[in-house]
Symmetry: C2
Subunit: 444 residues, 2 copies
């Protein structure tokens, strides 16, 4: 299922989780019932919303979270035998609730709740946060680009700008947020993300040694590409001179050429020139793909230009200035009693929670309400309330449909539900406020 079967999940863990487990086994507290929640205290600076991502990857990883002999041997040096025995039998048998993957989130939204014994839950902090912080950061940036592109397709091509395994998850997160596909082949195999891509400057430069002029080399390269991929392919026209490149492309492929790609220069100006040139050559259906350090702002700035497809690399895989989502994994309840840290501005809100989102009849959302689990959801008079918290796992087994297609739909629906200023790319507050309803029986 995952292509990751040879990989240990259980060692993707901070050492302190195991030392805490050892201490809690020693004094018996490891068996207390606990709830940990994943949430972000705030959105990245100036962002209006975030997109929950990583849910399905977490559920899948959790099922593979086991300590085998090799791992137990590696841990032997600092853990006592009682802890090692516990780990040898470890498998998560608790429950998980959370937002459906792809749901928008706001400050304080409890995007994931993990319920079980303290021992089985405390080990999952790093795994849960690594997955959610990474995938959410990418999906949240990608959604802004999708909205800036106003219906034009986007291709994720940033694999080379991020860790080789992060690249696969980033391609998935960008697709989840509405990108059309990715350059990454493993993302297609592992997650079904459509793989796209044609050629790089290197392929044109390779033909330099054929003799002749730059135009001859370029035409050799184009001819080789068209021979294999057909005239529907995308030819990269900016290796030497763009005007000559476009002429060579149409000369080689004919007016039914699929697309040309421009990867450098002033993309707006060039797109207009190239469109005119293509139209003048009769290649009126040939599309223009632009790439090269695009982000949501430059995508928006190209809205008026005759661009057909955007290729986005660095900015999407690095979260466009916010490479991590700032989510935390906090113990909020022990044996049914809310608990919370009190010493600083970093306090958490105790108690197991659920969330509901309120919207006008028009569908525009107005408020996120986070309330104690088990309480009735809010019943506003003039508003629609939609419960966001759904069961994801029961007794260690997945219970929800965690498919990528449903997540893509949730992102699209979420973007449509935002008030108009929630889609603004400029810096501002969260699109809707979050109201935290305190537990009825609090305890410090």
């Amino acid at each position: 299922m995952s292509g990751l079967s040879g990989l240990s999940m259980a060692m993707l863990t901070d050492k302190y989780e195991l030392t805490m487990l050892a201490a809690a086994l020693r004094d018996g507290t490891a068996h207390r019932r606990a709830t940990f929640e994943v949430f972000a205290r705030r959105l990245p600076d100036g962002r209006r919303y975030g997109v929950t991502a990583g849910t399905a990857r977490f559920v899948e990883a959790l099922q593979a979270f086991r300590f085998d002999d090799a791992e137990l041997t590696a841990l032997d040096g600092f853990l006592d035998s009682a802890t090692l025995d516990y780990l040898a039998d470890y498998r998560f048998t608790g429950d998980v609730d959370g937002y459906g993957e792809g749901e928008l989130y706001f400050p304080g939204s409890p995007v994931l709740s993990v319920h079980g014994t303290f021992g089985e839950c405390v080990l999952l902090e790093t795994l849960a946060l690594s997955i959610f912080n990474h995938d959410t950061a990418v999906a949240s940036a990608a959604a802004r680009m999708v909205s800036a592109a106003a219906g034009r397709p986007l291709i994720e091509m940033g694999s080379r700008r991020t860790h080789e395994q992060a690249a696969v998850a980033a391609a998935r997160a960008a697709y989840l947020a509405g990108f059309t596909g990715s350059s990454n082949l493993e993302a297609e195999r592992r997650h079904g993300v459509p793989a796209l891509g044609t050629s790089a400057h290197a392929f044109t430069l390779l033909h330099t040694t054929d003799g002749g002029t730059p135009s001859d080399w370029e035409k050799s390269a184009f001819r080789a590409q068209v021979d294999v991929l057909g005239v529907g392919t995308t030819l990269l026209v900016d290796t030497y001179d763009i005007t000559a490149g476009v002429a060579n492309a149409v000369e080689v492929a004919g007016t039914r050429l699929g697309a040309v790609r421009i990867d450098s220069g002033d993309l707006g100006v060039l797109a207009r020139q190239v469109r005119d040139q293509l139209d003048g050559l009769g290649a009126t259906q040939t599309r223009i793909v632009v790439s090269g350090d695009l982000d949501e702002f430059s995508i928006a700035a190209l809205r008026a230009e005759p661009v057909d497809v955007y290729g986005v690399g660095t900015s999407v895989v690095t979260g466009s200035g916010a490479p991590t989502a700032g989510m935390v994994y906090k113990l909020v309840e022990v044996d049914g009693i809310p608990v919370e840290k009190r010493s600083s501005h970093k306090e958490s809100h105790g108690g197991r929670k659920q969330a509901s989102r309120l919207a006008k009849k028009s569908g525009t959302i107005v408020e996120e309400v986070v309330y104690p689990a088990g309480d009735p959801p809010p019943h506003p008079v003039d508003l629609e309330a939609r419960t966001l918290t759904v069961p994801l796992m029961r007794a260690g087994e997945p219970v929800a449909d965690i498919g990528l297609a449903a997540a893509r739909t949730r992102v699209g629906d979420g973007l449509l539900s935002l008030p108009w200023d929630g889609l603004s790319l400029s810096r501002g507050d969260a699109a809707v406020p979050t109201r935290m309803v305190a537990p009825r029986r609090g305890r410090v």
Copy 2:
């Protein structure tokens, strides 16, 4: 060796590399001798130097870069049989030269050169760049923190802020740059990075249900931790009230307590208060660990405070504002002839290259010289020249010592060799200029 045996490396590839291969096989150019170089056109904004990292991971990954049946099946849909046959037999048999891992680099430094047929080299772009861009970004940020810490130890604890596999590589890169260790257990197993860590707020909160006052709960938690880890452990004292927390820690562990950790608040003020309190209690050898959104600037600002150890998370694993190093993988030579792109500011410098670094007799570096491979290295009169380019692989097999210890030494030596303003944390130009010596026989 890697813990990654079940993972395909070959699919961590952009689709266009395979379509280019298919086209090059069709027209015969796939067998031309090629050199691709990895370099950064510039340093991240305002940075004075970068730290080369990822070399050993790339060499290791390259040896595992094979297409097995499952991968060939996945590629069957868009590749012709000649290309699939080529991939079935693929193994890298070329040569690799580059900077020793841990060497500083500057704009234009050719940190890696890959030599082989176009076909075998073109497939490696994504893998090489993913590894170098990620690891270099982390190591470069980490080195600034090491230099800001001025000899005090740093612990990398950012696993939860980045993709779960990127976390392992980030721990390695931070250690390479001079960090003392990491919280990440898999980084210890896979790369020998010392794993460190004790407990989180959750462990104290877990004891809330014991009854009594916050001090009682805290002491229960401390007692459990000391029972398992001994008095040399680090107790986290800021769950409720720091002054009470310090008193509780010394009451439970005694004056031989190893350390206390403060994870929130004004760390400078708190460190002074806690130092006074510890000294007053007789715990004069108990160390103070601080953590909580530290970066190189806040580490430097704490230099005058009685801090013993820094725990660094988000900022180091995300490259402290520069999450990717901006390295590119460019074709620079085909069949012995230099090639280069010409259409924009993104031009590359053709020809296979080597590099040498010039230093005063005192050891302070003054210039990076990048010159055509095969040419004699620069022979300045009053300066020492050190060749940076070393053989890393020959005929597909590693030939260099690529150990992490040697890389750590190179980073330390490199930082010592910088001119004084090269260590400044403020924004500025590269610490030394790079001189590009053109190939003697150029060709457009």
